[in-house]
Every structure is written in C-alpha cells, then in structure tokens.
C-alpha cells in the first residue's frame, strides 16, 4: 500500500511540474548550502586534526597572550630567552625550542612584498623540521655560521609570489638586507608556511633590531612524564620567574591536545553559525512546501471527497498527503546534496588552484550526505502535516460538493 501511495504522490507532483520545481528550489538551495558548508568544515577539521597528530600529543606550546598567529602579538607581551631557559630547566622537558617569527618587508629587484620570516638556531631548525616532516627539496639547509643566507618556502620558487623567477643563488632582500637563497623547502600545503623565509635567528634579530624575544616556544615532554603535569609546572615556574599573579599571566601554556580542542571549538562555533544561517533558508523552503500543499489540498478537494467515497480512511488521506510533501522535500534534498557536493568540490579545486592550500578539503562523509537527505524528507513531511490534516478532516459530502 505504501508503494502505491508513493506512486500516487509522484504522479501528483508530476501533474504540476512547474509548481513542484519552484517549491523544491526553496529546499535545495538550503540543503546545498548546508551540505557544502558542513563538508568543507569537516574537511578543515580533519586537516587540522591530522596536523596535530603529526605534532604528537606530548608537545606543549607557550605563547605570549593575544589574538592571532605567532608573531602578531603586539607590544609588551613577549617571551624572552630567559623564559626559554626557565622552561628548559623544568623536570620532564626533553627539549624546548624558541622560534622568532616576524613579519617584514621582502623585495626582489624592484618588487616589494610583505612576508613572514622565521628565525631559528640551526639545531632547533633540525629538530622542528624532523618533527613536522619538513625537508629541503633543492639546495641545502642552513648551517652554523650562515649569515645572510636564506632557505625559502616552496611558493617563492614554484608559485607566483615573485614575477621574476628565482632559483638557488638568487638574491632576496629582507628589511633592506640582501640574502642569498641556498635552499628551497618542500611543499607544505598552506600559503603561510610555503611563503616563509627561513633565516638564522641571530641574523633576524640583528636586522629587525629585536633585543631578546621568542615568538613561540615548543616543548617536548620527556618519555614517562605526563604532558599536562609538565605544562602545569611550566606555567607555575614561568609565573614565578616573570613575577606574575595567577589568572593574570601574560602568556599561555597549552598542550597540543588543548590547542587542538581550542581550534576545534572555534571551528564548531563558526561552522554552527554558518550552517545555522543556511538552515534559515530551509525553514523558508519548508514554508514554501506548506503553501504548495495547502493550495494542492484546496484544488483537490473534490478528489479527496471522491477518494473518501470509494473507501479511503482519514488516516490514508493523511498519509497520502504527507508522502507527497515528504517527496517534495526528498527530491529537493537529493538535488541539494548533489549541488552542495558540487559546490564543496569546486571550492576545494579553486582553493587548490589559486591559494595552493589543502586546508579546504570537501569531506564526503556519508553521515552528512545521508543525514541531509533524511533531514530534507523530514522537513517536507513536517511542512505537510497541517495541510494533510486539513485534507484528511474534510467531510466527504462537503468535499464532493466542492466546485
């Protein structure tokens, strides 16, 4: 019987093709937006989780307080080499690496640009590169005693950061000082890391006139120690040495897991807001279905009367109309999912093409796709409840007499 009702419902939708299509637009725009946003959001989260997995859960990151990426924290909130020494002396710290990350002016010939320069000592650079799986694909890495030598990120050579083609041995100016390119990093996949200029820490301090600063300190916990506990100890010792009070620290100590959680929470909120906005269009779409179904009930009053006369019970009329509105939602949802997947894939492709980032990966999680379909069917059905109730409650004799 259910099958027959589906066929009847489809017949009725086909009878008024244009109206059915127009009604479904409301649903599929919403579903497409929700699917695209969720799939891209999911992809982004997956990417970040993977990155943190590479980093390992035994890392602790210490940064000065403030918003934004390392290097952008303004003014007086800085970490120093003294803090680094304090951290290195904490029990349970296997190693601690201080990195200087600064924004500055870079130029090649007449071309001028803004970029990030990362300053590390050669040993620390080796440690971090190994940890993150970063490597040189051309030339060599920086050595001890390398002054005014630079290892450039992948995009400097292989993408269009500079109009003039660069290669090993080319010159690049950072804050007015000429550096010679000695190596190129392999492709990492995000525009910031692939656009970095890697130079010696002391040289970077000199040319930027930085006295004593660490933009970020990364710690690896020694085997057998609990990362959280070590992080707590670091926080306590730093507080003491910097003479700060609890809850009023000017620095942040976070384990890699906490950092991941922070990121994921932020993404969950951003994604929630975006999906929520998209969901408003679904509400509107649902109201569209309701409107169409009400019209349909009025138009088919006599038909409803006939069906009742030949033995249809109220529950069967109700079911018939619910299936019809559910189908409107479901078919709209199918198209919406297809468009949403298309949008997400296009965004992924365009991001790869123009920004060169793998951050936007459309995740084709079946839970999202199937969930969207079920959701659209449910919206259709819910929107149909009131019109269907109206249809089922019509008195047979009145319905038959309706012209």
């Amino acid at each position: 019987m259910l099958r027959d009702f589906f066929v009847l419902g489809l017949n009725n939708l086909k009878r008024r093709k244009l109206r059915s299509w127009l009604t479904m637009i409301g649903i599929f725009i919403g579903i497409a937006a929700v699917v695209a946003l969720m799939s891209l959001g999911q992809g982004l989260q997956n990417y970040i989780s993977d990155e943190f997995e590479k980093l390992g859960s035994d890392k602790i990151i210490i940064q000065p307080k403030g918003m934004g990426p390392p290097g952008s924290a303004g003014g007086s909130l800085i970490l120093t080499s003294k803090d680094l020494r304090v951290i290195k002396n904490v029990r349970g710290v296997e190693w601690a690496v201080g990195m200087l990350l600064k924004q500055g002016q870079a130029s090649v010939g007449d071309e001028v640009g803004i970029g990030f320069a990362s300053g590390l000592t050669p040993e620390d650079r080796k440690t971090l590169n190994e940890l993150q799986g970063w490597g040189i694909i051309e030339g060599r890495n920086l050595k001890k005693g390398d002054k005014f030598k630079v290892v450039v990120g992948y995009n400097h050579i292989h993408k269009d950061i500079w109009d003039k083609p660069l290669r090993i041995g080319s010159k690049i100016k950072i804050e007015g000082h000429e550096f010679k390119i000695v190596g190129v990093m392999g492709k990492i996949g995000n525009p910031i890391d692939d656009g970095l200029l890697h130079v010696d820490k002391d040289v970077l301090k000199d040319i930027l006139s930085v006295e004593d600063e660490e933009s970020q300190i990364m710690v690896k916990t020694a085997p057998g120690f609990d990362t959280e506990e070590v992080a707590d100890t670091i926080e306590r010792k730093l507080r003491k040495s910097r003479g700060e009070r609890e809850k009023q620290e000017t620095f942040n100590v976070q384990t890699s897991e906490q950092l991941l959680n922070t990121f994921q929470n932020i993404f969950a909120v951003v994604q929630g807001v975006l999906v929520g906005i998209a969901a408003i269009s679904l509400l509107v779409g649902g109201i569209g279905i309701m409107n169409t179904m009400y019209t349909s009930v009025v138009e088919r009053t006599k038909e409803i009367g006939t069906m009742k006369a030949i033995g249809a019970r109220n529950s069967q009329i109700l079911l018939l109309f619910l299936i019809e509105s559910g189908l409107l939602g479901l078919v709209g949802g199918l198209i919406g999912v297809a468009i949403g997947v298309g949008l997400a894939k296009s965004a992924e492709y365009l991001a790869g093409l123009y920004i060169g980032t793998p951050l936007l990966q459309a995740s084709m999680d079946p839970v999202i796709l199937v969930g969207a379909l079920i959701f659209s069917f449910v919206i259709g059905t819910l929107s149909g409840i009131l019109p269907a109730l109206q249809a089922s409650r019509l008195k047979p004799v009145d319905a038959l007499r309706y012209e």
Partner: protein
C-alpha cells in the same frame, strides 16, 4: 410504480432501511429541511429510482444512505448495521466495501489511468497488487473498455468515463450501487447505455439506487420513489 421483467427479489432479505430520517441545514437564520422524515425499505437485488426536481432532497438522501453524510435524526440500517452510530473510519470501511458510487461528474482521478482508477478502491482495502490488476482488467472488460486501460480520463469520452466509473464502483464487489444523476452529463444515447448497464448489474443481483430527475432513465428501475420537498409523495 411499474412492474418490469420477472426478477426474483426475496422480500425478507432487506439491505437498506431508513427510519424517519431527516437532514436539516442551517442557512443563515433559516433552517432548511432538505430531507424531512422519510422511511424506506430496500431489498437485496432491487433496482430503485428516486426521482424529484432539483432541491427535492434526493441527493441529500442518497448521501446519507451512502454514509457520506450524517442524518440530523432518524436511523439508517445498512445490512443490519445502524450506520448513524458509527465513526468516520468505520464509515469509510463501509463505503469502501459495501457501496459503490457513480457520480454525475464521473469523479475519476485525473492523474490515474483507467486501470489505476479502477484499482484505487482496492488500494484502500489493501488488496494485493496482482489481484487488483486482474480484477480491474476484468471489470473494464465487462464495460467494454479493454482497449482503454492505459488512457487517462481526459483522453476518454464522457460515456467511456462513466463506464470506467461504473467499473470502479464494482471494484470491491459491493452489494449496493449508488448512482447520483449518472446520466446527467451524457447525451441520450450514452445515458441509455449506462442505464442498461445498471439493468444488467441488477440482473446479476446488485442492489441499485439511482437518483435522477429524468423519468426516461428512471423507467429502467423496478420501483420509482418520488421525492418532493424532502418527503416521499405518491
């Protein structure tokens, strides 16, 4: 009243009984007595015509017999059951199983083919698909429409549509056929054909109640009741 052919009607075998049935409407401040206390007994296999001018209450009476409408007062027994005491879902079952309707305006479902229209009453009674198709084909054959199975109603002539409607009325093999002005939208020739079809069904043992204002059509019936201002007149 006019006697026709020799047909056996068992006088004890009553199928419909109306006891002092009335239907009153409120139209503004006025109460319209569409049907004002009628009594009638119809036996199994009888072919009864109810005639009267428009507004005489004949359709209203038929709607109540067909369990489409509820009487203001009085009792209606269908096959021994007082349908005035039943709820809508039971009434729907009675309409589906015991009664077949034929309407003046045919009332076929426009999106369904002739075959599907005839199958629809069986869908509501949950008859399995294969049985439905077989039965519907058989019935359409009976009304000489075997060549029109996949036609939609708008591709059929008026006479053909009404024959599809008759086949549909027979789908669940009901005991009673209720026809409300079935020839009203047909020309004389097609009307005559449909009326003769009722004679044939009556001969096969169906109880038929035909509401009409056309005396020529009414003459096909075994008995004719005249209704005027909501009451039977002699």
């Amino acid at each position: 009243m006019e006697k026709k052919k020799t047909k056996k009607v068992d006088r004890k075998d009553e199928i419909i009984r109306l006891k002092n049935v009335a239907k009153w409407y409120k139209a503004g401040d006025e109460i319209v007595k569409a049907v004002d206390g009628i009594d009638i007994v119809i036996h199994k296999g009888e072919f009864v015509a109810i005639v009267g001018p428009s507004g005489s209450g004949k359709s209203t009476a038929m709607n109540m017999v067909g369990a489409l409408d509820i009487a203001t007062k009085g009792d209606i027994f269908l096959d021994g059951i007082n349908i005035e005491k039943l709820h809508e879902s039971d009434l729907a079952q009675i309409r589906g199983r015991k009664i077949g309707f034929v309407f003046q305006t045919f009332n076929l479902i426009p999106t369904l083919t002739a075959l599907e229209n005839v199958m629809l009453p069986m869908v509501f009674q949950r008859v399995p698909y294969e049985d439905r198709v077989e039965r519907a084909k058989e019935l359409l054959g009976k009304v000489d429409l075997s060549h029109r199975l996949t036609h939609l109603p708008n591709m059929l002539s008026g006479g053909e549509r009404q024959r599809v409607a008759v086949a549909r009325a027979l789908a669940n093999n009901p005991e009673v056929i209720l026809a409300d002005e079935p020839t009203g939208n047909l020309d004389t020739k097609r009307g005559e054909e449909v009326a003769q079809m009722f004679n044939k069904l009556s001969d096969e043992g169906k109880t038929i109640i035909l509401v009409t204002h056309d005396m020529y059509v009414a003459k096909h019936a075994d008995k004719i009741y005249k209704l005027k201002d909501g009451k039977f007149v002699r």
